[in-house]
């Protein structure tokens, strides 16, 4: 293959970026990072639903709000204490509203503690000022301590609110996912569903315990600072306010650019990841075709592209802070300059100027912070919306009120004129008619996509038929309780699925109330007993990570044992032996044969050798039964089955 251009590579691997969610580090660098989650479509509705989850914590929230106010006010007031202190030292009196009030409080306290203070300081000339200073520092200390305590309590309370909220959201979501029909998982890939639990719920949590607090306390600080500034000096306030739009516009311009580059960076990162993933999986192929050098070159192209975009993204993300900082220095200088003039011309005191300068500096901070937090809130709301969308998805239809239990089911299965499609406009099965008497073995043969597995999906009520009917013991399966019906159908699928736990626990999955003896009996039926006894800890051997410590054949034997344990009269074997070699299959078949005894069995198989002793074989093609009969009948017909059997036709 000739070397591809960067454009080709981006096109072919770029799709990866959108399908494969790249998890951002929380608080990823730069303002653009928070925008990944997208915008909520109906914010109002989502907020209302979120509030439902927060509702149990109303009491907490009121306290949080109070503590938040307290901590904001203490920080503002504590700062203002500086004004009278400095002015006293300069031998003046602060003339501003809050200044006079603060001065009054300090003086009153000093007078209250006068005897103690003066006994320490003696009656020197500086004693008056020193006493004032000590009192002021003492008061500041108290104010700030109160502030610290309030902040501590507020964040603790808020954490319990947010964690409690997302716990119940996660619970509801998980419960909902369990109740969802198989159809839902066809449409939503596993990764997507997982991401609801991880990314989206996490975002909601972050928003609750971080952004909400920041937003509210930021607004309170903003308003408080503004009030304090106006009462200190309205002329200077005007000067400060004048600069704000200039800041925010500059900031937004940079943020916009960096967001653009962050997006590009994400796409480039996705392409690089996709390329690495593919080449690592395809390592052997690359080596056999001597493609190492070409891959290196192509990777170089993608990597270089990533470098460029990453540079720009980080550059714009990184200069944001310094530029904003420097601009605010300019406004600071101008404010102080104007303040100096005011000081010279009016009664404006140095203490008031100091305090004001501090306020003017912190005034722009909440504004920047607020806009950053808003993006977090938006992405959290978008996440919440996706979470709620899952919660609103249609669950499995509830059982009919008169649904009946399925005790003593014999397993007489009939399908009458069943027509079905996963999509209403794409029919998969056409007019399927068949029956299986208790204990009979029915086999399905046909190409991939012919509808074999669909039949068993319908039997299990993973999907409900809309046309035609399926009956078991002459009762429509939709009239049984769904749980009861499924209890009466045992399945052995091609994909063995084992859970982390002991061998015994895994077999017991077939019927939870089975005794140890029953488990072992089932294992014997499945021809699994002998290999289990050879395992290091026998039945107590722990199976890890979907049974990677067992061979494919052994895993399948455990699955069969699981099915053997259940007393279900109906058994479905869906390609149960396809993924093992023919010799292992022979071994498994002994177990299967014993398992099938006395059970109505539906077998789906690719290998025709596994179906030849069935009572009836259905040859499916494009959702229709084109031939039926037992092995010898079908061979005699010299039709499709004969073709398949003799290898004259293609089975893909």
């Amino acid at each position: 293959m000739a070397k591809r251009t960067l454009q080709d590579l981006q096109r072919q691997y770029g799709g990866v970026a959108s399908s494969q969610k790249i998890k951002m580090r929380p608080g990823g660098r730069g303002p653009g990072a928070a925008g990944i989650g997208g915008k909520p479509k109906n914010a109002r509705h989502t907020i209302q639903r979120l509030l439902q989850y927060v509702k149990p914590y109303r009491g907490h929230l009121v306290l949080v709000l109070l503590f938040m106010l307290l901590s904001t006010v203490t920080s503002l007031v504590g700062g203002y204490m500086m004004a009278p202190i400095i002015d006293r030292l300069a031998g003046r009196r602060t003339e501003t509203l809050v200044g006079r009030w603060a001065d009054g409080v300090i003086s009153a306290c000093r007078d209250a503690f006068a005897p103690t203070l003066y006994s320490w300081l003696g009656h020197q000339t500086a004693a008056d000022v020193l006493a004032y200073l000590l009192t002021a520092i003492g008061i500041m200390l108290v104010v700030y301590l109160v502030g610290v305590a309030a902040t501590y309590l507020q964040s603790r309370l808020m954490l319990s609110v947010s964690q409690g909220t997302i716990e119940s959201i996660r619970n509801d979501l998980f419960d909902k996912v369990q109740a969802l029909p198989v159809r839902f998982f066809d449409r939503n890939p596993t990764g997507e569903v997982m991401s609801r639990f991880t990314n989206d719920v996490d975002n909601i949590g972050t928003m609750l315990d971080n952004s909400m607090v920041s937003l509210i306390s930021g607004s309170v600080t903003l308003i408080g600072t503004f009030i304090f500034m106006v009462t200190t000096n309205w002329v200077l306030t005007l000067v400060t306010v004048f600069f704000i739009p200039i800041f925010s516009m500059g900031g937004m311009a940079i943020a916009k650019r960096s967001r653009k580059y962050y997006k590009g960076q994400q796409a480039a990162l996705g392409a690089v990841n996709g390329y690495i993933e593919e080449t690592v999986t395809g390592q052997k192929v690359i080596k056999t075709f001597n493609h190492e050098a070409l891959c290196e070159e192509e990777f170089g192209l993608l990597n270089d592209d990533l470098r460029g975009k990453q540079f720009k993204a980080n550059f714009y993300g990184g200069i944001m802070g310094p530029i904003m900082g420097n601009t605010s220095q300019i406004s600071y200088a101008i404010t102080v300059g104007v303040g100096g003039i005011l000081m010279a011309t009016t009664g404006f005191t140095p203490g008031a100027l100091t305090v004001f300068a501090g306020y003017s500096r912190q005034f722009s901070m909440p504004i920047n912070n607020l806009s950053q937090q808003m993006t977090v809130v938006f992405s959290a709301l978008a996440g919440a919306e996706r979470v709620f969308a899952v919660m609103d998805a249609e669950p499995e239809a509830p059982d009919r009120p008169d649904a009946r239990p399925a005790d003593g089911m014999r397993g007489y299965v009939k399908m009458q004129d069943v027509t079905f499609g996963y999509d209403p406009d794409k029919t998969v099965l056409h007019h399927i008619d068949l029956y299986a008497k208790p204990g009979q073995k029915i086999a399905f043969v046909g190409s991939t996509g012919a509808g074999k597995t669909t039949i068993t999906n319908l039997l299990n009520r993973f999907y409900d038929v809309e046309q035609g009917a399926i009956t078991v013991d002459d009762v429509n399966i939709q009239d049984y309780r769904r749980d009861d019906l499924r209890r009466n159908i045992a399945m052995v699928l091609q994909d063995t699925h084992l859970f982390t736990g002991t061998v015994r626990e895994n077999i017991r999955y077939g019927r939870l109330d089975a005794t140890d003896e029953e488990v072992e009996a089932a294992a014997k039926t499945a021809s699994a007993h002998s290999f289990i006894m050879r395992l290091e800890h026998g039945y107590d051997t722990v199976i890890e990570g979907d049974g990677t410590n067992l061979s494919q054949g052994q895993r399948q034997l455990l699955n069969i044992a699981r099915a053997a344990l259940s007393k279900a009269p109906i058994l479905v074997l869906d390609e149960a032996t396809s993924s093992v070699d023919t010799r292992t299959e022979r071994h498994i078949e002994h177990g299967l044969d014993r398992l099938m005894q006395g059970r109505t069995t539906f077998v789906i198989a690719h290998r025709l050798s596994t179906v030849r002793n069935a009572n009836a074989i259905m040859v499916l093609e494009h959702g229709e039964i084109i031939e039926r009969g037992d092995h010898d009948d079908l061979l005699a017909q010299k039709g499709r089955y004969w073709q398949l059997y003799t290898g004259a036709a293609e089975l893909d």
Binding site: M1, Q12, G282, K284, V285, F289, H291, T582, R612, G647
Partner: protein, 164 residues
Amino acid sequence: MVLQKNVLFSGTIEENLRWGDENATMEEIRKAADYAQADKFVTTFTNGYQTDLGQGGSNVSGGQKQRLCIARALLKHPKILILDDSTSAVDTATEAMIRKAFAEELPGTTKIIIAQRIGSVRDADQIVVMDNGRVTGIGTHAQLLANNTEYQEIYYSQTDRKEA
């Protein structure tokens, strides 16, 4: 070498086949695909050889993937061709056609075939039976069937039971 785990890469079918020979002409590509019984299905795609395979070749079926991998290997014009379980998802009839093409069109290429299906190897000049890392028998199909129990066991497990 064609491996059991076939890996195709993002890109078009043509680009993937060109892994075998960068400078192959379109005729050469189609010929290789034809030997591998891939040309027929590729030409049914709307974009033919320009069809995008998607990551890991997710747009084609397992059997089709295997046939494309064989075509890719053929384009390399190798002196030795190793097929490691490379037709496991291809049905027996198509597999037979691939084998026939190999025999007729690539007589000078040494072919090493690794397979589970007896059908895939029964025409081989020499069959090596292995079990647990040991060679338990070497010979032609007829020879092994006559005197190798392992081979018999495998053979009968794949053919009619009446013979077992």
